[in-house]
């Protein structure tokens, strides 16, 4: 049992995926997926404690978990469990409404089976990408997330879903190949280190002072563009609104809440090595440029968005931009950016779940179709409004403080950028508010009657919002240590 947490996190996902293939009982598939996610959460918490109090955890060759990995593992685990719980009821409702597969919840629809196979594989690949100690293995598993999720985006098998999935597949494949090239360029500087064929993050870091700065600069640009495509930085973001809006709502939550931090973490690992070779200003400037561009594009489009799932996708692009600017400013900005990443993952996932509730009730993702939500789905509406205020940085939510800290970290050296970001964030708030108010308070179609809301569709978003709120006021000591270590090393 000793030192086997990483195995315990991974194996249940593969077992659950295997069960989904072989077993025909829907309940068993759901329970196995739930158990896998539950165990991964437990394992992630244990690993995080170990890393916080005993340092880097590397129980096996090829596996290594540092503070950044531990935080991202926690994010994946929490969001993953919430997604699995939500998915079970969400798919049941969709099956009942004949949106997917056969009607009736006791009979297995092949689509439901397919969904849980891919969900479990997606979770396993994200954990693997973050746990492995080699940049090339990380690349392989990030690529594997693209492959496992393409069919989740096209899940509804509609032309628009196929189009969104195709766009996702092509753009991300290009991005991931550029990241591969960047990784190889990093290896070109290692010379004799490459003789055994295995180069770890640690090996790269300790030999970084011998690397060719010019090659590393070019390599980091390729890495940034490559993995930045997965994060969704502008101008590589174009797949994101389409994929998020066409995928089932819980998958959108997992994309925004878990995959974004995974890809971001890989960029940060390369940033750490690049900073050793060429100093921090090079990578920081890249983070600031792409971060600012992402916020500009998101703010502009969010204002005129007509689809609430696309609205959430652009909000993810905006928040990725803010996190990038935090890392660009450095110092306190990094600490705040990490906290921002955590808050964003929880809140955005919650908002995606709530968007799923709207979709189930109104059968449309158009903002104009959602009217009088406060009367029709009151709890969902109130939670959506709460989530909106939280994600846009209204006090007392944590994002308010992280934005303040990030901007204060850069006010001295980059006052123009800080002022621009403040203006853009205000535009985002107004744009989002405009849509949220109309959806929730404006009266609309009286044919849509209020019904009792399903507890299992409310519990996951409530849990995530409560955790985000709790973390806004009280960061547990072990998490503080992890984030402090990240600020110190990245």
């Amino acid at each position: 049992m000793y030192n086997t947490e990483l195995i315990f996190i991974l194996i249940p996902f593969f077992i659950a995926a295997l069960l989904c293939i072989t077993v025909k009982n829907r309940r068993l598939i759901e329970i196995s997926s739930l158990i896998a996610s539950g165990i991964s959460l437990l394992g992630s918490i244990i690993v995080s404690f170990r890393v916080a109090y005993f340092g880097v955890y590397a129980p096996f060759p090829f596996f290594s978990v540092d503070s950044l990995d531990a935080v991202v593992m926690l994010i994946i685990a929490f969001v993953g469990l919430a997604t699995t719980v939500y998915s079970i009821e969400y798919l049941r409702q969709e099956t009942t409404k004949n949106i997917i597969g056969l009607s009736g919840v006791s009979y297995l629809s092949s689509r439901v089976r397919e969904y849980f196979i891919l969900l479990n594989l997606f979770m396993a690949m994200m954990f693997l990408a973050i746990m492995v100690s080699s940049p090339l293995f990380a690349w392989i598993f990030i690529e594997a997330t693209t492959l496992s999720t393409a069919f989740l985006i096209s899940f509804y098998n509609k032309p628009s879903a196929i189009e969104g999935a195709w766009k996702y597949l092509i753009i991300n494949s290009i991005g991931i190949l550029l990241a591969f090239f960047g990784t190889l360029l990093f290896f070109s500087s290692t010379g004799s280190l490459a003789s055994d064929g295995f180069i770890s993050w640690h090996l790269l870091a300790i030999n970084a002072t011998n690397f060719n700065p010019l090659i590393i600069k070019v390599a980091f640009i390729f890495i940034f563009i490559g993995y930045g495509t997965k994060v969704g930085f502008a101008p590589m973001h174009t797949w994101k609104p389409d994929a998020y809006s066409k995928a089932p709502a819980p998958i959108g939550a997992l994309f925004s809440g878990a995959l974004l931090p995974v890809a971001f973490a890989v960029i940060l690992k390369f940033k750490m090595i690049t900073d050793i070779v060429v100093g921090p200003s090079f990578s920081q400037n890249l983070f600031i440029i792409f971060g600012l561009l992402s916020i500009v594009i998101a703010a502009t489009i969010m204002f005129v968005s007509r689809n609430y799932k696309r609205l959430l996708a652009y909000s993810s692009i905006e928040n990725a931009g803010i996190i990038a600017i935090g890392f660009g400013f450095g110092g306190l900005g990094i600490f705040a950016a990490m906290l921002h990443m955590i808050y964003h993952s929880f809140l955005k996932s919650a908002l995606f779940f709530l968007s799923g509730n709207f979709l189930l009730k109104y059968n449309s993702a158009k903002i104009t179709a959602i009217r009088g939500a406060l009367n029709v789905v009151p709890i969902t509406a109130i939670l959506f409004l709460t989530g909106f205020f939280a994600i846009t940085g209204a006090p007392p939510f944590g994002i308010f403080f992280t934005k303040i800290f990030i901007l204060s970290a850069g006010i001295k050296e980059h006052p123009f950028i800080v002022i621009t970001v403040i203006m853009l964030v205000s535009i985002v708030f107004i744009g989002f508010l405009k849509h949220a108010m109309v959806m929730i308070f404006e009266q609309g179609d009286s044919n849509i009657k209020a019904e009792k809301e399903n507890i299992w569709l409310l519990l996951p978003p409530v849990a995530l919002i409560v955790i985000a709120l709790f973390l806004s006021f009280n960061i547990p000591p072990f998490l503080s240590i992890l984030i402090y270590n990240i600020a110190l090393h990245y």
Binding site: I162, I170, L177, F198
Partner: protein, 215 residues
């Protein structure tokens, strides 16, 4: 192997990508990709003969199976099944496409990318050529309207990166190479399935026909 022969192989890879830009028939594109992948196989075999590293032999064999045999067969079946003899057009016409190709090559051979092309100074010209094949593959993905051409473009980009890696002396362990090849194989299957789905829903593989995301 003679350096002139290695140069010839890289030139073959380069020319196949130029051909992919100007070819109109899907079958021709598949042939060009097969030849390109075969050139990569020989380059890997050469690395095996030079280093004696047995893992490179395995990788070469895997490339032969996956990229030279399986991938073209997948595509050929898809073309036959859906009767896609002719590919759809490009965004830019042929003369402008050729001008862009020249410009991209000039950029690859310019001083901008000298840090990359001088990784092994004796291979500078070859690395510049490999870099231009990468740029041309990227341009292929952007310029072609056909989903099949886009997939061939991505696979071609992957071949170009492998060629660059070989001339830059960046051989990796067998497990990693197999991992990457496994990824490419799975990607290939998924992309092929998607193409079938696209054809079913849109009646063509022209990506400009996909306009369902305008809402």
């Amino acid at each position: 192997m003679n350096i002139l022969f290695l140069q010839f192989l890289l030139q073959v890879i380069f020319l196949t990508i130029v051909f992919l830009h100007i070819s109109k028939k899907n079958f021709d594109a598949i042939w060009a990709y097969g030849i390109q992948s075969f050139a990569i196989t020989i380059l890997l075999l050469n690395s095996f003969f030079e280093t004696g590293n047995i893992s490179l032999l395995f990788v070469a064999l895997l490339v032969l199976i996956v990229k030279v045999v399986l991938a073209p067969r997948f595509f050929a079946r898809l073309i036959k099944k859906n009767e896609l003899i002719f590919s759809v057009s490009t965004y830019l016409n042929i003369p402008i496409t050729l001008i862009v190709i020249v410009l991209l090559c000039a950029i690859a051979f310019s001083g901008i990318f000298e840090p990359l092309t001088s990784i092994i100074s004796s291979n500078q010209g070859l690395l510049s050529l490999a870099l231009s094949t990468m740029f041309l593959s990227l341009f292929l993905i952007i310029n072609r309207k056909s989903a099949l051409s886009q997939i061939v473009g991505i696979l071609s980009l992957e071949n170009s990166i492998v060629a660059f890696a070989i001339f830059a002396g960046l051989e990796q362990s067998l497990s990693l190479q197999i991992g990457i090849l496994f990824d490419i194989s799975v990607w290939l299957i998924i992309a092929t399935v998607f193409m079938s789905m696209m054809y079913t829903h849109f009646g063509s593989l022209d990506v400009t026909d996909m306009k369902k995301l305008k809402d």
